[in-house]
Symmetry: C2
Subunit: 344 residues, 2 copies
DNA sequence: TGATCGCGTGTGAGCGCTCTCATGGCTTCG
DNA sequence: CGAAGCCATGAGAGCGCTCACACGCGATCA
């Protein structure tokens, strides 16, 4: 008789079975499983052995039913699906989230939401205790999700900030500061005819990066008329279109600040199409320091934001909030950094 | 008295509450919730109204406890975390999976696994009925996960195929065919001194793309000595290193087939560093048609595989298998397509 | 030495749901 | 007109777990 691995029965072993094998009660097994408060060494050993022998794993459904915890948190991405996962930004956030989660017992559920129906379904899902907490990403201005979720008493952390100014736990990059760094660099290298491809005005990132741009331009003593603005939606195509409009209406511009790297890539294309040299004729600065920035032609000067850390920080803040649901909303601002390559 | 939205009580309404309000039994409510087999129109209407009024949503934990279904499937990615989400391949698979899932009630759980401990934990998680099915991605040769999961009777679909030849439901791109297309193009455009940066030999994608490369070279009548092979791990850095070795040992090569776009990007760098012009001196073909291929300098000629569809197809196959656990393992092969840009 | 305490342990209720089975009203057929 | 059948419905058990609470034992104190 060689020792056999636990039989692969179709029926998973229950607490009851472990208790019987260990010669103790269900309650004692439960205590051991959940961190052994006040269990005698003998009982603890017996239970541990029985668990190992049976290959016992707690039934999560039964546990959730009574504890009302799920050991699951959800990352809700409110955006078109083709935008979401193609954008390296999301991949990085996800990586940070996963990394922070890997040291916990929590499972991450991804929810990609678009349209009112899906949104409401997600809200229901969250509201009825399917998850212990919510991470919210990519919100547009009038989104009711943050207030609905937190109003339902479910711990919530969002990326960015609410344009309404409502207090919500959040993590954000220093978008204003980052945009200022970009503009200061442009000005310092002699550019005077600035333009920007801003992000959507209904998103805090869009608003903040534009604000930083405007502030820095003003600080540099540039006339408002020398700071043209066109908006895009963070996709490359929108950046290209915006830059084309910029060039058509203001042929004298010598620098473009794009509110994302993807849009900056579009700007590069538009510039190339218009026969302008980068950076000789027009300097371009992006935002994100996403992977494509490196491979752009020319490699993109950009504002790096610690995206991965942003994801991790969101998790930490959520864990804190789950542990202590009271207390005021906190917001963490992550620093940005200018990465100078060849485009400016 | 204006109609009020359902009160945001901390306590979610139960089946019991709905039954009481509708004036029927729990069982009847349950029937309505689960697709109303044999419920009178009157009862159905009353229940529907009560559900709406209360904002009732079934408690998933309670339901799972008795049905032993979870309405959750898990996508397990067995890879280093920093590789996983940075790779556009994964983002695309994820997008396809999410898309296919969006028309179902299923939730997707992401599990990123590395090391034996995490792997075993994931195996336990899966084995004890936490999920209804498993999607497996990025497997190396000696991985026990596929056989463990399917051995435990949990429906499983993997991307790629098992090098052991064990029958498992799977979806794969036509890697052999794709590689052949690439080589045929190289040969057709006059290249004779071929080399390849292959993928890991312990992964089916690596093996298959190399096989396709070798086959096509043989078919073209090229001597085996003219088909140099170095391997990488699908990262850009590894591609660069492999290409450097290739150049050092075989300075006469005039074409490189890289088993992934990321590696092709590395090849491009190595070539540039060595002062070779692309495609004039050396032609380069990648594999994947990932986003960076477009922005490469020069834009990359590559073999496109329908990655998103691969994700969707995995879901479909898993759903089929969940519905009918019996029957032989099936494997779906997705076509590839050569996309000609400037690098070859 | 008897009352008191505290610790380790077991008992039992019940979380919210599904599912089997019994029941009673109605239709249908001989 | 009675027996048989069918359909909508309800009663009740139980999924596997946690969490009071009760209990009994040895140690401690007056």
């Amino acid at each position: 008789m060689t020792p056999e691995p636990p039989a692969r029965t179709r029926q998973a072993p229950t607490l009851e079975a472990v208790a019987e094998l260990a010669g103790v009660s269900r309650a004692t097994v439960s205590r051991v499983v959940n961190g052994s408060l006040r269990v005698s060494p003998a009982a603890h050993a017996a239970v541990t052995r029985a668990i190992a022998e049976l290959g016992y794993v707690p039934n999560q459904a039964a546990r959730s039913l009574v504890t009302r915890r799920t050991d699951t948190i959800v990352l809700i991405v409110h955006e078109r699906p083709d935008t979401v996962f193609a954008d390296p930004f999301f991949a990085s956030v996800l990586r940070g989230v996963n990394q922070a989660l890997s040291v916990t017992q929590l499972q991450l559920v991804l929810l990609q939401v678009q349209g009112d129906r899906q949104r409401d379904r997600a809200l229901r899902y969250v509201g009825n205790g399917h998850v212990d907490g919510v991470l919210l990403i990519s919100l547009h201005g009038d989104d009711i999700m943050p207030m609905s979720v937190s109003g339902a008493g479910v711990p919530l952390v969002m990326a960015g900030r609410l344009l309404t100014g409502d207090p919500v736990d959040s993590v954000d990059a220093d978008n204003v500061g980052g945009a200022r760094q970009a503009v200061r660099h442009l000005v310092a290298t002699g550019r005077r005819e600035l333009a920007t491809v801003a992000g959507p005005v209904d998103m805090s990132v869009g608003v903040d990066r534009l604000a930083g741009y405007a502030q820095a331009a003003r600080d540099a003593g540039l006339p408002a008329s020398a700071t043209r603005v066109e908006t895009g939606d963070f996709t490359e195509a929108s950046g290209q279109a915006a830059a084309a409009r910029l060039l058509a209406e203001h042929p004298t511009i010598d620098a473009v600040f794009a509110a994302s790297d993807l849009m900056a890539l579009g700007v590069l294309r538009a510039l190339r199409a218009a026969g302008r040299r980068v950076p000789d004729d027009v300097a371009v600065v992006g935002f994100d320091d996403a992977a494509p920035a490196v491979y752009a032609d020319p490699p993109l000067t950009t504002v790096r934001q610690p995206v991965e850390r942003l994801g991790a920080e969101m998790v930490h803040q959520l864990l804190r909030r789950i542990a202590d649901p009271t207390g005021d909303a906190a917001s963490v601002i992550l620093p940005t950094e200018l990465v100078i390559r060849s485009s400016a």
